[in-house]
Amino acid sequence: MALVDDLGRALERTPGGGIILTSLDAVMDWSRGHSLWSMPMGTACCAMELIAASFARFDFDRHGTIPRADPRHADVMVVAGTITRKMAPAVKRLYEQMPDPKWVIAMGNCAVSGGIFYYDTYSVVRGVDEFLPVDVYIAGCPPRPESLQDAVLRLREKIRAESIAPGRSRPAKLVLPSPTDPRAGGVATADDGSGEG
């Protein structure tokens, strides 16, 4: 990413560069959003829904999301299923092997927080965000394939806020725009969506 990073910084420094950078950002975010190749890290029941999502009835390919088993070709790692402490180093290793603009979707309660295996187990990692930076969490046990596709659309909105030049993300509305958004009840959200990097 070195080449791209200094391109971004160079554009930022040159006087007229800001305009080019924002338009370049727009194109890049659009293209990254619409061709998110997923790395299916399916371990347990959520893997079944992950497979169903890319097959005939809930076609993932329509959003430009192809399941690529090889971490080198994937952009987003979908962690679907329970991650045990024997499995964690392998997941961490595969995450590191992915090329840089990469994101993580934690699918299913087991990936989000250990879910039904939160209490009384000795070998379950309580949530993938203990060792991976997670971008979108999906609740459900297992979530429907449409929830996964909804998460991909959510991830697109989040990517729209990112930029090539590091540390220059536009503020994005990170609170869910759903009509009766569970968080609509006047409760201050965790942060106002300034979106760090």
Partner: protein, 315 residues
């Protein structure tokens, strides 16, 4: 002057293959979708046709990972070694009456010989990426190389025997209607062996999706992996054009300008059949491929050559 002409043609070939690859990948995902009762890309452009417009810039800006322990220069330029033969083999294809970009007397021989260089590219990438799975994939490609080259050459030979010359334009000139039924079996052998040569369809053993995960290009990310894809689609385009020319008469099908259009249409039909075959059949094992080529394709190609020889002699 010929150097300038060569450079110009090289650039044209790369642009043609890049455009072909973009349309090819989209058409492949559409055919795969339809075969599997789903739609394939739909969101960008009419019926998702501009999906690759979204994929290419993303791949361009992907981090270009060179795995530690890999052989640096070899790793960077191995994809070119796979892509170049496809572009070069496009040079000898007889597009119009008496005109081929590089009309050499041994055009057909050139077309048969050049694609096998891509196997060297595969071996280079397999060795350079310091990855057990890649090494396995590369060795498999090398092992099965000879088995499909022989029937491929024999099947084209039967047309050359009929035409009596190696120069593609002369072959086109000497082309007759009744050659189609005569050499149709040869065409089938040619098609099957070129699928094996392109490592596609039932013979994608070097990069078997379910065993070696991604075979020889396991460690290529971003644009280097795209160059491999362009290499594959380039070979596909070149082979189908050549097949259309030699076995279906190419531009001789319709008089005048219509000829080129007819040739392209037949080539597209061949591409679609190749994709259809890929998404229907399971994958052969490496040794089964070699057995199939030696024990089935080569005898059939020889019989076809015998028939073509007898007819040529009787003429």
């Amino acid at each position: 002057m010929s150097l300038l002409w060569g450079l110009l043609w090289g650039l044209a070939a790369v642009m043609l293959i890049a455009g072909g690859a973009i349309i090819g990948v989209w058409w492949e995902r559409k055919v795969a979708g339809r075969v599997q009762m789903r739609y394939g890309p739909q969101q960008i452009g009419p019926a998702g046709s501009l999906q690759m417009i979204a994929d290419v810039p993303k791949l361009l800006f992907k981090e270009d990972i060179v795995p530690e322990g890999a052989d640096e220069p070899l790793f960077r330029y191995a994809p070119l070694a796979v892509f170049a033969p496809a572009a070069m083999s496009l040079a000898v294809v007889p597009f119009a009456a008496g005109w081929a970009p590089f009309d050499s007397t041994v055009g057909a021989l050139f077309f048969l010989a050049v694609p096998s260089i891509s196997v060297i590219g595969i071996l280079l990438s397999a060795w350079a990426s310091h990855n057990t799975f890649a090494a396995l994939g590369g060795l498999r490609a090398a092992a099965q190389m000879v088995s499909y080259e022989v029937p491929r050459s024999l099947s084209v030979l039967s047309v050359i025997v009929l035409a009596g010359t190696l120069r593609p334009t002369d072959v086109m000139a000497a082309w007759e209607w009744w050659w189609i039924p005569l050499t149709f079996v040869g065409f089938l052998v040619f098609l099957i062996s070129s699928i094996a040569e392109m490592n596609r369809g039932p013979f994608d053993i070097p990069e078997a999706e379910s065993e070696l995960v991604a075979g020889y290009f396991a460690d290529y990310s971003g644009i280097r992996w795209a160059v491999f894809m362009m290499g594959e689609y380039g070979a596909l385009i070149a082979t189908s054009l050549f097949g259309a020319a030699f076995f279906f008469g190419g531009h001789r099908l319709l008089p005048g300008v219509g000829g080129i259009v007819a040739m392209v249409v037949v080539a597209c039909a061949i591409i679609t059949v190749v994709m259809w075959v890929k998404w229907t059949f399971p994958r052969l094992r490496a040794d089964q491929l070699m057995a199939f080529c030696w024990k089935v394709l080569t005898p059939v190609a020889l019989v076809q050559l015998l028939v073509a020889g007898v007819v040529a002699a009787w003429l």
